[in-house]
């Protein structure tokens, strides 16, 4: 049993390390690759349970890739498994950004690089605009009046800069608890 456990931990570490190094495109991608690895290839977790684990990773606060690593690690090998999976997930971005930030300080003053980065600011703005546009549309499509009101109100509050955005998030979280409780009552 002990030997099997250490094999699981090693595989967990190498697998999360590999996925974290080569996955561009955010948490959702990495979580679906984890599913491919642990459910489809190794059969360590069954499909339905994995869907719920992914739901946990997405609903808890924090980066989805990190959360995904924690749930999968915890499910496979308890707390130790969770730690091993976190290390595997965090080491690659930590090392890569550490190296790049040194280069960044050196290159930022170069005129060509400065122009390039200036243009990329407009590009980043466009990426964020298209992301919010897509997400905003899917909120509006639900035709839920409260959601649309929350959307507009939060945007105005956040842009005014008068209020710490943590309060907006906490307020909406409490609203969510109340709504879910009410819906439960109605169903009963």
């Amino acid at each position: 049993m002990k030997k099997k456990n250490s094999k699981i931990l090693r595989t967990l570490f190498l697998s999360t390390l590999y996925l974290s190094t080569f996955t561009f495109g955010g948490g959702y991608v990495i979580v679906s690759l984890m599913k491919k690895d642990f459910v489809d290839a190794r059969h360590w977790i069954d499909e339905e349970e994995m869907l719920d684990l992914v739901a946990i990773a997405q609903s808890a606060p924090g980066a989805i890739a990190v959360n995904g690593a924690i749930v999968v690690g915890y499910k496979l090998a308890g707390i130790l498994g969770a730690f091993v999976a976190i290390f595997g997930t965090v080491i690659p971005p930590f090392v890569i950004i550490s190296i790049l930030s040194v280069c960044y300080q050196a290159f930022r003053s170069n005129l060509l690089v400065a122009r390039m980065l200036e243009g990329m600011q407009a590009g980043v703005g466009a990426v964020i605009a298209s992301v919010t546009f897509g997400m905003g549309c899917s909120v509006i499509k639900e035709k839920d009046v409260i959601s649309v009101l929350v959307l507009i109100l939060s945007f105005l509050l956040a842009c005014s800069g008068e209020i710490n955005i943590v309060w907006i998030i906490l307020g909406c979280g409490i609203l969510g608890v109340i709504r879910t409780m009410l819906e439960r009552k109605v169903r009963k």
Binding site: G123, V124, I169
Partner: protein, 186 residues
């Protein structure tokens, strides 16, 4: 002490960013740009660019980048640790409860009503980045104060992303190259 400040700032980012991906953006901005001024908006946008082009979650990338800039590698460790600590505790607790009871509906109900707010917060972070990119320093919102080449690049990128569904990394590289070309043509 700077390490504790970094740790606590990124603890808040980790604790309150719901929904993954860009959801951490407005929180990171409010902590490192508005509250502590560790980066200005321009550096913050560069950081997002770097995050987009490298693997790993934006929050981890930011913690490493800001930590190193402010207090070297130990700073980066403090910030990263702060960022993942809430996840470690909350996710393990939920996973434990789930493996026991197999019910998640309250959690998902909460997430559902958080989503419109998260979208709004990401949008507001986008607005401040665009304001910084388009407006010359200190100018008020007017047609003459707008940086026209960058605005044109923004529109081109938006079309490529929304209608042509291009990969964001390629679109961003293109934006950088276009700006270099614009500057030399002028």
């Amino acid at each position: 002490m700077i390490y504790i400040q970094l740790f606590l700032s990124f603890l808040q980012v980790g604790l309150f960013s719901f929904g993954g991906g860009y959801a951490a953006l407005p929180l990171i901005q409010s902590q490192i740009v508005d509250a502590h001024r560790w980066l200005d908006v321009k550096e913050f946008t560069d950081l997002i660019t770097l995050s987009q082009m490298t693997p790993g979650p934006i929050a981890i990338n930011s913690a490493t980048f800001v930590g190193i800039k402010v207090a070297g590698v130990p700073g980066a460790l403090a910030a990263t640790l702060g960022n993942i600590l809430p996840s470690c505790i909350i996710v393990t607790a939920i996973a434990k409860l789930y493996l026991k009871y197999r019910k998640l509906d309250l959690l998902q109900g909460v997430l559902k009503s958080l989503r419109p707010a998260v979208v709004a917060l990401i949008a507001s972070a986008g607005v401040s980045i665009l304001k910084n990119a388009f407006l010359e320093a200190g100018s008020v919102l007017s047609v003459t104060g707008i940086n026209i080449p960058l605005f044109v690049i923004f529109l081109i990128c938006l079309i490529l992303l929304c209608w042509k569904k291009w990969n964001p990394i390629i679109v961003m590289l293109l934006a950088g190259i276009l700006n270099v070309i614009f500057c030399y043509v002028k």
